[in-house]
Structure formats: structure tokens, C-alpha cells
Symmetry: C2
Subunit: 289 residues, 2 copies
């Protein structure tokens, strides 16, 4: 595995790689990240993984400084996973001195959920991913489903800016007890860790109720609120039942299905999870018009 | 010559073109544009020209609606000039319905000169050029020196976003009497047209004074102001003697040279022109240290 730091290093190695799937990460890797490496390798000649804790997507008072880091361990894991090229840039390699160009995503898609809780977050995400795509020039961008709104925002950015890259979304990877894997899980105390799977359980209950025919969005939201409030270690920040493309809150789940997403605090950790309620199977056209 | 309208049309043809130089234009072509086609063709297998009057770079009250257009004539000229592919998109082909991603260039570079006169102008330019580059995927972006600040801003955008495209700048093309070619020259009445070459003459005088050793920036600016004010048909909006990279106004022209730029109104027409005062030739190193 090659390891690059500067843009020039990266480009020099990338030039010989054929088609590339890029997995952008903030490091402190877990099996969820490594599953994305597998996804990228299935469809491309080579896999590039970037490790970069992007300052522009953190707000004031967020955990930029304390975000967990262990680059040596990360590189060992990537080497074992068969990654071809790891890009571990410094801040100045991504944002050159005097950098003043930002990618902004306006409108309702970034005003809700994570965008409402973390003003400017998605501008930081859109900016850094645009830069990573510019420098790495991959054929596919491979991301995890856990950050559902991030995926929706980036899908928009790629289309809006005409960036011809496939956006490939890998499933959320989970611990045995259902907790979605996240680098931030390391913030959890043992008691919080034991309590946190309530998030996944509440979403599973929503799935079951939906499968049984429930379509009232507020009923589904209430279910999550009740589930999580029964767990004193956790505090729900939001639960959303939204259109899977626009992320507009729904009154009823229609034939296009829904994205059910939540954010919750367990001590120092702010955890996300989500589930997609599948679109209705289109019935065969009636034989009588 | 192929003519494409949608992104898909464009990409389908572009795929067979080898290396490409892209000349982005707003149409109503003149010899300045065609000189950029020649520049592009010298270094690349093929030339793509876009014709698109970009609404996002016009402010309220500007001439978006009245901007001169003649696409049929433009296409004839491009065909004759040996262009391989003309892209003539509708607004929705550049900005798909629901488009909400904008490229913003912050800081002093876009706060001065054209950026001060036309708030939001360079965000519109940066956004549309990023989209054109995304869709066309050229090897070089070829632009004219007349829009000097635009060139400086886009140079920043390409570097900041890691977009690996050569920025090639062709010289300003001029009428016999020195007036810089511009699609907006069509707005000039005969009397205004006769008066407008004062802009170029004032810049030529600056060049002569600089060559004779004048380094005081305010002296150079005053010279332009005096020259233009002697012409009643014109009204100078600004004259700048600035660092050629940062566009910060200078007190004295140092060894890095300067960009002298101006904007002036002649009736309905707002005209730009500029000249670069060359950097000092570095003297040979002294033989005695």
C-alpha cells in the first residue's frame, strides 16, 4: 500500500491505478469503513482511502480537537484490507494557504436534521468532498448509509456540479447488539454503551409497525421518542420521518417510502442512526384500464 | 462540428474527443473569442466551446435580459473556426431543477473591483465554471485576459478545489483603434464608440510612464482618471493598480509588477480593460556575495 501526504504525492501514485473507488474517512477506522473498502474493490481496479479529520465540517464547541485519531492503526487496517493508496493529508494539503473557495448547499435539504443541529456542517462536507474528488479523480465515491443526510446532500452536489462520479452507498455496519458502528462510540462509558442499542431497537420497532401497515408518520416518531425516553442514559435530539430524497418531514408515509433518522446524546457521544422504510412495490397495471 | 444541448448529449460526444481545450463563452462571439479557439487548438486534440449566458453571474438591474444573443451566427463562426463541439445548454441543462449547490469565493480577492461593483458576480462565475468543467471534463480552460479578475478568481478556485485543469489565458483582442473587443460593445452609440478608445490610450500611457520608471501607484491611477475625464462620453467607475495575484491595491509598484485595471460606463455599456505592468527582470546575482 502506498501512503501519500501531499496532493502531488497522491496524484503521482493515483495515475497508475486504473479505475478507482474512493472511500473518504476521518480515520479511527472500524469495520463499517472496511466494509466500504470491500464495496469499492468489488467494482474497481483500485481502492483509495483518505484519512482526514476535516475542520470545516465541525462547528464551534464541537469535538474537532478531541475527535479520536490513530493513524498508525488505521494504516495497518487498510494495508490488511488490501487498500492500494491511503491519502493522509495535513490540513494545508487539503486547504492550501489562502484557500478561499467554499461549496455551499442551500435550501431545505441542508436546513433540517443535521443541518439544523450543526450549522455549516454540510458546507464543510460538500467542500471537502469536492476537493477530495478533484484531487483523487475517482470513478466512484463510496460512503456509508449511516450518514443518510450526508449521502442525500452529496448526491445533490454531484448532480448540481456535474461531477461524473458514481455515488455508491454501503449499508450501516453494526455491533452484535445492533449499535451502529461509529468512531464516536469510543466516547461512550460502559453504562452508556450498554444503553445505546435502544436507538437501533426503536428503529426496528418502526420497521415492524410499518410492515404491519402503519403509515402515520407522527405515530412512528412517537414510538421512537417513547422507546428512547425509557432509557435514562440517552437523550433524543430529533427523530424524523421524511421523504427519502428531499428529507421533508412527512405526515403520512406514501408509496415512495421514508427515511427514519435520529440523533441522540449518550454522555459525550452524539450518535446517529437511521432506517429506510421501503417504497411500496408498484402493483402490476390493472388489466382493465 | 457537433452541437450539444443537454449534459448527456455533451458527454456522449466529448467521450470521443481525446484531450480537450474548453473555451467558455456567453456567445455573441467576436474575434477575441475566436483567438481563444486558436489557442485551445494549438495544445489539444479538440476544442469545445460553450455558449451560455449564465444568469447567476448577473445581479439585479444588470443586463441579463438584454445581453446580446445570436446563436445561429455564433455556430457558423465556430464551425468555420474548426471547433469540434459546441455546447449550447438551456438554463436547466446547467442548473438542473432543484439545483442548490453554489461555489463561493470568499475573502479580499472577490471583494474588490468587479466584486465590489457586482456583488455575487464571482460566485456565479465560479459556480458555472465548476459545472462546465465537471460536465465537459476538459484538459485546459481557455479564457481571455480582458477579464483579469475573473482569471485570478478562477485560478484560486481550481487550486482550492483541486481541479486538475490547465488555466490558459489568451491576450485581449482589440479593434484597430485599441478598444478591447467585448460583446457589450454593441451597446455603444456611434459617438460613444468613437470615444471609448480613450480607455486603452490611458492604459498605454500608464505603460509608457511605468517603462520610464514611474512606480507610484497613485500617480498612475491619476493619469487614467485625468485621461478618461477628458472624454465627456465616458465615466470612469474605478481604476486600480494592484498586486497581480492578490489584487490588493498598491502604494508603489514593486518588483512583482502590477495589474492596472479599470471599468467605465459609456452610455448603456459598462466596459473593462486592463494592462499588466511586467515584473522586474531579476538582475543576475552579484559575483561578490
Amino acid at each position: 500500500m502506498q501512503v501519500a501526504r501531499t496532493r502531488d504525492d497522491l496524484r503521482a501514485t493515483r495515475a497508475s491505478l486504473g479505475t478507482v473507488g474512493l472511500v473518504p474517512t476521518m480515520g479511527f477506522l472500524h469495520d463499517g469503513h472496511l466494509s466500504l473498502v470491500d464495496v469499492a474493490r468489488r467494482e474497481h481496479d483500485a481502492v483509495v482511502v483518505s484519512i482526514f479529520v476535516n475542520p470545516t465540517q465541525f462547528g464551534p464547541g464541537e469535538d474537532l480537537d478531541s475527535y479520536p485519531r490513530d493513524v498508525d492503526r488505521d494504516l495497518t487496517l487498510l494495508e490488511k484490507a488490501g487498500v492500494d493508496l491511503a491519502w493522509v493529508p495535513d490540513v494545508e494539503d487539503v486547504y492550501p494557504v489562502g484557500s478561499c473557495t467554499r461549496v455551499r448547499v442551500e435550501g431545505p435539504l441542508t436546513a433540517v436534521l443535521e443541518g439544523a443541529s450543526r450549522p455549516g456542517h454540510f458546507d464543510g462536507v460538500a467542500t471537502v468532498v469536492t476537493i477530495l474528488l478533484g484531487v483523487v479523480d475517482p470513478d466512484a465515491l463510496v460512503m456509508g448509509a449511516k450518514d443518510a443526510q450526508q449521502v442525500a446532500v452529496l448526491r445533490h452536489v454531484l448532480r448540481d456540479l456535474g461531477i461524473a462520479v458514481d455515488l455508491v452507498v454501503g449499508p450501516t455496519w453494526r455491533e452484535q447488539d445492533g449499535l451502529a458502528m461509529s468512531s464516536r462510540n469510543v466516547y461512550l462509558t460502559p453504562a452508556e454503551r450498554a444503553a445505546a442499542p435502544v436507538l437501533r431497537r426503536s428503529l426496528t420497532t418502526v420497521e415492524r409497525l410499518y410492515a404491519a401497515g402503519e403509515r402515520d408518520a407522527e405515530t412512528l416518531r412517537s414510538l421512537v421518542r417513547r422507546n428512547v425516553s425509557a432509557e435514562p442514559a440517552g437523550s433524543l435530539e430529533y427523530v424524523s420521518v421524511a421523504d427519502p430524497v428531499t428529507l421533508a418531514e412527512l405526515e403520512r408515509v406514501g408509496p415512495e417510502g421514508a427515511l427514519v433518522s435520529l440523533a441522540a446524546h449518550f454522555g459525550r457521544a452524539r450518535l446517529l442512526d437511521n432506517v429506510t422504510l421501503p417504497a411500496a412495490v408498484t402493483p402490476p397495471p390493472s388489466r382493465v384500464q
